[in-house]
Symmetry: C2
Subunit: 352 residues, 2 copies
DNA sequence: CCGCTTCGTCGAAGCGCTTCGACGAAGTCT
DNA sequence: AGACTTCGTCGAAGCGCTTCGACGAAGCGG
């Protein structure tokens, strides 16, 4: 392993000159620069990351803290990660993912106070999130994906659930649906303060009320069985429902299964829209699901950009931004068989 | 941020003594140790990871290099990651995931030569994998998940595809199936030298031949449409097939959809077994899929243990180990409607 | 042509830690 | 009892880099 010293000797300059060539923090003549670069190439020199980090007090490593549970990561999350990694690379940082279990905030505190990470992006933030507190105490620059309850002081990037739900509902209403049921995450998830579940619940109520319709929400366990149960509950509460809106990638397969089991066809008898869903998952179902696709890659990019701007720039302003999901019409939505008393809306169509 | 110096001064000992308390590399009297520990607690001292790393020339960070593509990570992969992270933590290491795109081996070389990672676990290894070469050149201790073509010199942990396929085939044969089709990954994947696809192909041929049956394999694109096409191809090649074995978590949903589309019921008309599949995905389908569940968490743990043993122990022996998937019978397998001429086998049953 | 800034380079002082050699005190053989 | 180890501690020398202050050499306005 060649060191900077070796490069300096070979190029017949001082170590500091080599350092300036590497970092560009002071002007270096073109001739000297070339000599140094040649020496580096000849020795196959790679700077030692830890020495740089120690001396400069910045590791140029960003951490992405993601809870890894048994559910796996959807395409949305991986798009997020790749978007973030690409943005970090552009800004001259490395991105590493740390699979912190939700379990142990002490682990997190230790990791963060060891000064190995210049900044942190926190995924799957709860409305009241202990991890946020820990990280703030330690003083690590922080960007959240999702929001805590009190959004005032922190930087975050999140999905615009309000607009996403509004758009999904508008799509169904414009097709002629009037009895729309929203299948949310489980009651336990809601109770634990999971922001997306809470915010979509409120947005759904608002959107339906805005159309003069009655909002019906069902909480479903995150499993196929949960989806089946939820559909049964939905029919119990709204026997004449013609459309299901769901934000539960797992339960939705149970919903589809149960629909088929009841002899109902999608989309002719019941339309289905899946929210915050990746195209890959949407294509898994037959028919492919009309879905609100999450802006995964953009979320990741923007989060990292906000973080690096904070780290490199002098002003430590915060960045708060919402991005809506986009409607992608596939085969699971159509006009209801017997359109309810049409109040408004364009011609129903078969959404290709 | 308190430093070791501060701790030493407060405890009225030398810095080296504090270091020995921290690392346990030399004996320290109980009295001194207590003084030091008290000082650390009082100052809320956390050692600086980069200083330790620079001085000791070991970062105590292990990298898990995982390709992140648009397909997302299944529960198998996340189980792998959590198993690995837990094992690393036990051994006193941090595990970070690096989302290296398959794209750029130079990025990888840079990352690895910066001495930030004490060792590396490489996922999704190809039979001829450029990344392996790069990492070996750089001299980073390495454990593979999967195997290269030449398995002689490297440490690896992999699924025992041979036994897994044998067991899956045995299950179907014992139910009375004789016409079994194997749906593999795509032809392109096979051509690219993806080990699991190649090995299961050979294992399937061997297993079927061993039972005196004819092996039929179909390559399917990793998509629902690919699955549908594969099923059509399967029926073209083996019109009387009664069972499908698949190793393609995405295509399998297309297979199921197409089966339903043809008016065939699972498991009464056709049995389906999904290989290297997590319980979560298996439960998504209706009926839930009989599957060969991959030993994700154990794979991760064993890989990390092999790596840390190599790093901490003196002998640098290599570790090569295969783990089979375990059969979990759910609702997608049963005796065929008209069992073929029974050659052997226990009583067909309905697999709970 | 003198004082002044800017350019390009050097040497040295750390960054916060580990680790080596040394050394007095104590224990252990024989 | 003398010769060795072992124990418990210290001081100092780095690990490989960044960064600060310094300084000769140009460039330049007056």
């Amino acid at each position: 392993m060649a060191t900077m010293h070796d490069v300096a000797r070979l190029a017949q300059v001082s170590v500091s000159t080599v350092s300036y060539v590497l970092t560009g923090t002071r002007p270096i003549s073109q001739a000297t620069r070339n000599k140094v670069l040649a020496a580096m190439a000849q020795l196959d020199y790679q700077p030692n990351a830890m020495a740089r980090g120690l001396a400069s007090r910045r590791s140029r490593i960003l951490g992405l803290l993601m809870p890894m549970d048994e559910r796996g990561l959807g395409a949305t999350e991986t798009a997020f990660v790749t978007g973030a990694a690409a943005a970090a690379s552009v800004a001259g940082y490395h991105l590493v993912l740390s699979p912190v279990g939700g379990g142990n905030p002490d682990d997190l505190r230790r990791l963060a106070s060891q000064r190995m990470l210049d900044g942190v992006v926190l995924m799957e933030v709860q409305l009241a999130d202990e991890r946020v507190t820990v990280l703030q105490e330690v003083g690590v620059p922080l960007v959240l994906i999702g929001r805590t309850g009190d959004t005032s002081t922190l930087s975050y990037v999140d999905i615009d659930f309000d607009q996403t739900v509004r758009e999904a509902v508008a799509h169904l209403v414009s097709l002629g649906h009037r009895q729309i049921v929203y299948v949310n995450h489980s009651a336990a998830t809601l109770a634990s303060g999971y922001g997306p579940a809470l915010r979509t619940r409120d947005a759904f109520t608002a959107a339906m009320t805005g159309h003069g319709l009655e909002p019906v929400m069902i909480a479903a366990e995150d499993s196929a069985a949960g989806g089946r149960a939820a559909l049964a509950a939905a029919f119990a509460q709204a026997p004449k429902l013609t459309a299901v809106l769901a934000m539960n990638e797992t339960a939705i397969f149970g919903i589809l299964g149960e629909l088929t089991g009841r002899g109902l066809s999608v989309p002719d008898d019941v339309s289905v829209v899946s929210m915050v869903t990746s195209p890959q998952v949407a294509e898994l179902a037959t028919p492919a699901l009309t879905a609100m696709t999450s802006p995964g890659s953009a979320l990741g990019r923007i989060a990292i950009e906000a973080l690096t701007r904070h780290l490199d720039g002098p002003a430590d302003q915060r960045h708060q931004q919402l991005l809506p999901c986009t409607l992608e019409i596939r085969g699971s939505t159509a006009a209801p068989r017997r359109p309810a008393l049409a109040t408004s809306g364009p011609t129903p169509n078969n959404g290709g």
